[in-house]
């Protein structure tokens, strides 16, 4: 029987206030093999770890059990502690008495009893542990960045600045993401294009960045250090190698009434188009669905006007696929803005001058449908020269902080509503601005100051959730206008406020296809569909999958400063791995005990990584350790127990089971 030491943590009051720690220590010291048991207020602290190291030396411990938080939190910490005292880190087992005992159990006696059972299980298990060595795999010095919004661009530029190869994949025809649509940014009122477009160009011209626009990641195989990524390039029907971006084709295409996706249908584009003037790459694509040549078999005007002979109608409509190899992946796939179409009471899609926040952004934008003039529609069409509104309603929390839609706060709406309030005051003299809010959340640097500035700019702030936007006039002054009905909770009365334009600050949602991408990458989502970080505070841009990082709105709604910060943070993590050149991998792989293997081959088709084959000479199964990811599915299926998993051996698990059930 090996000499076992048990160390029980109070975690301040997190464990100690519920679990009676001295009782657990006393119980542990009576377990077979335990030669030393101790407690500490904070086992993970330096003195706590030192206590373990000393005990290993003084008591000649051969196994260590730490009863504290989840192994997902501190297993690595205590393995290292053991290593520092000369004990192999795998001769250690963690007993989780915080996340799965003290925090979830009300009754103190029951919690203490459960903690004892968990400790007993760990003590039983650790007896059968064997020393293991952490393996290392080389890291391919290249990073894949998925998503070319501001977070992805930042990540790509940071990684590339070290001289590392970056593949930046963007599914739209241009990089830039949502920020490319913005006119100004809060709270500084910087011109969004002036900040973003140089970065877009920088990314596209950087010698170490390959921008794959109009492309999608369709398959990711391999693992940390060497991912194989299949990138599908959608057909452009324009040879971008030859195209000079002169724009002659854009002028001549006769199909001119196609609603522009970039401008949410408020402007038109041609069948051959670039999404917006500053697009990067600034090369057009042909929209096959609307092209006269593809649909009716005549036209070919773009081909005629193209001096560079870049038009290529014969491109495979299915596009083409290439495979790249990278060491790690940064996911910055962004978000989408909720379409409030099912909120009939707010008039979106029913009343003419009701916009979402991002549509209104285009209305304020100099290259938007009204050339930056905030005007009402003329004959149901958004265009310059319309009548300026006399009053505008900005309505917060559309779909956010709403139990019927999303429980979360979208974090940017309060601030962009304030920005709009300022812009309306600036662009439309005399226009009343009503800002309907529930709470003002101005949390960032300079944000509260911006709010205070707006309070002095004659904006009417009304605290209350808007009940309805209607065109049914009841009173004089409401005819031909829209009326916002709201309970003003500061006044304590229901009000009817006539306005000419309504901006619905609708929620930020996970991007289209976010779930599918998560499955491609074997990444987790939180219940709201945003990607799950490994730890909100300790590992905010890592994921549960080694070598895959997240940045920007794909992880949750956030503003530009936070998106950029995450992009840079993810880049630092990706680079750290690449600079080191190798990454550690868990040694918990499967292996075959030859004497027991009958060569039945049940295991072979079960392996999702094709890591098992039959060694024909010996008529036995063989697991290739470099390919095995350590799920243990083959081990669970082996009828003769010939397959075992390092660290999750049958004898170890069964000992753990016995430990649980031996406790009374």
């Amino acid at each position: 029987m090996p000499r076992i030491g048990v160390f029980v943590c109070h975690c301040g009051s997190n464990i100690g206030s519920v679990v009676h720690v001295p009782e657990v220590v006393q119980f542990a010291s009576g377990l077979p093999g335990v030669v030393h048991a101790a407690e500490h207020k904070y086992m993970c602290s330096d003195p706590g770890q030192e206590m373990i190291r000393q005990a290993i030396r003084e008591h000649g411990l051969e196994r260590v059990v730490v009863a504290s938080c989840s192994p997902l939190m501190h297993e690595a910490t205590f393995r290292k502690t053991c290593e520092e005292a000369g004990l192999n880190g795998f001769l250690f087992q963690m007993a989780n008495i915080r996340e799965q005992v003290s925090w979830v159990t009300e009754d103190k006696a029951r919690a203490t009893k459960k903690a004892m059972a968990v400790v007993q299980a760990a003590v039983h298990r650790v007896v059968g542990h064997v020393p293991l060595q952490v393996g290392t795999v080389p890291v391919t010095p290249a990073t894949l960045v998925i998503g070319g919004g501001v977070a992805g661009i930042e990540a790509a530029l940071q990684v590339a600045s070290s001289g590392t190869r970056v593949h930046l994949v963007e599914r739209e025809p241009s990089i830039g993401g949502h920020m490319a649509r913005f006119d100004k940014t809060f709270p500084t009122l910087d011109c969004a294009a002036c900040i973003l477009t140089p970065k877009m160009v920088q990314a596209n011209t950087h010698p170490m960045i390959t921008v794959h626009a109009w492309s999608e990641v369709v398959e990711v195989s391999g693992f940390v250090g060497s991912f194989k990524v299949r990138i599908h390039h959608k057909a452009t029907y324009v040879d971008h190698q030859k195209c000079t971006g002169c724009g002659a084709c854009l002028q001549k295409c006769p199909q001119r009434k196609i609603p522009s996706e970039f401008d949410y249908g408020m402007m038109n584009r041609r069948a051959i188009y670039i999404p917006f003037a500053q697009a990067v790459p600034n090369k057009p694509i042909i929209d096959r669905e609307h092209c006269q040549w593809f649909q009716a078999g005549k036209c070919r005007i773009c081909e005629k006007v193209c001096e560079a002979k870049a038009i290529d109608y014969d491109q495979d409509p299915a596009g083409w696929t290439e495979e790249v190899e990278v060491g790690n992946i940064i996911v910055a796939s962004g978000m989408k803005v909720m379409q409030p179409t099912d909120m009939k009471h707010l008039g979106y899609g029913r009343l003419p001058d009701v916009y979402t926040g991002i549509e209104f952004e285009r209305l304020c934008h100099a290259s938007g449908p009204t050339e930056g003039h905030i005007v009402c529609k003329t004959g149901g069409v958004v265009k310059a020269g319309g009548r300026p509104p006399k009053a505008i309603a900005l309505v917060h929390c559309i779909g956010s902080r709403d139990q019927q839609h999303h429980a979360y706060c979208s974090r940017v709406c309060c601030m962009y509503a304030l920005k709009y309030a300022h812009l309306v005051k600036e662009h439309v003299p005399g226009c009343e601005v009503y800002d309907f809010y529930i709470d003002m959340r101005c949390f960032g640097k300079g944000y509260e100051e911006f709010y205070n500035r707006l309070l002095r700019e004659d904006v009417r702030f009304v605290r209350g959730k808007v009940a309805e936007v209607t065109d049914a006039a009841l009173y004089p002054g409401e005819d031909g206008r829209m009326v916002v009905r709201v309970e003003d909770t500061l006044v304590g009365a229901v009000r009817r406020i006539p306005v000419d334009m309504v901006v619905l600050c609708s929620a930020l949602e996970p991007a289209e296809g976010a779930k599918a991408l998560a499955q491609t990458l074997h990444m987790g989502c939180s219940s709201d569909g945003f990607y799950l970080e490994r730890h909100p505070k300790l590992a905010p841009v890592s994921t549960a999958s080694a070598g895959i990082f997240v940045a920007g709105c794909c992880q949750g709604p956030k503003d530009i400063p936070d998106s950029v910060a995450q992009g840079a943070a993810a880049a630092a993590q990706a680079l750290a791995m690449i600079m080191k050149g190798q990454v550690e991998v868990e040694p918990t792989t499967a292996h075959v005990i030859d004497d027991l293997c009958s060569g039945c081959q049940i295991c072979i088709p079960l392996c999702p990584y094709e890591a098992i084959h039959r060694d024909e000479a010996r008529r036995k199964a063989y697991v290739e350790p470099a390919l095995c990811k350590g799920c243990g599915t083959c081990v669970g299926a082996c009828p003769s127990g010939a397959l075992q998993q390092w660290g999750f051996d049958d004898t170890q698990i069964l000992a753990e089971l016995e430990g649980i059930l031996a406790a009374r």
Binding site: S70, P71, L72, M73, N96, R98, E99, Q100, V101, W103, V104, T105, E106, D107, R110, A111, K113, K114, A117, V118, A121, A518, Q519, H522, G524, C525, S526, S527, L532, A544, S545, T588, L606, P608, Y609, K629, G630, C631, G632, T633, V635, G636, A637, Q645, F648, D650, I653, L654, E656, L657, E658, I660, L661, A662
Partner: protein, 150 residues
């Protein structure tokens, strides 16, 4: 019967369900203490023999939790667990163990709340079924068999 406290062993996959169970803790969701978890890397690792062993050693119920279909960290380990599930239930029934004493549930890393509910529901089911005492029953069966032979 009312003071019967069932003993339940839960096998949790590390990536989704164990993380989800941790989240239940982090969000201070309370559930009953009759359940003790064993962490495995994938629900696919759970050997049906472990389930039998748990019942033999005194468990009244066994819960296995894995990632939702399509979300498995190891591509499809959970599909294999699902494939074994009806077989194990049939096997248990043949052994005279009510199949509802073994349950398979999908709990994602974000579903702390769901984990707490799954645990409480499992405890209710097993409590209604009463104590299993399979070891005693095995011993009795062995005695009967020995008597019949003699």
């Amino acid at each position: 019967m009312s003071d019967f406290e069932p003993r339940i062993v839960a096998f949790l996959c590390s990536w989704c369900s164990y993380t989800g169970a941790d989240l239940a803790g982090t969000s201070r969701k309370k559930y009953r203490s009759n359940i003790i978890p064993i962490r495995v890397m994938c629900s696919g690792r759970v050997d049906p023999e472990w389930i039998l062993k748990a019942f033999r050693d005194g468990a009244d119920g066994v819960l296995v939790c894995g990632c939702h279909p399509g979300d498995c960290h190891y591509i499809n380990g959970n599909h294999k667990t699902l494939g074994r599930y009806p077989v194990v239930r049939r096997m248990l029934a043949q052994f005279g163990i009510h199949p509802d004493r073994y349950r398979l549930e999908w709990v994602s890393a974000a579903e702390g709340d769901r984990y707490a509910k799954v645990v409480d529901a499992m405890i209710d089911t097993v409590r209604a079924l009463g104590p299993l005492r399979w070891k005693d029953r095995l011993a009795a069966a062995t005695d009967t068999l020995a008597d019949a032979r003699s």
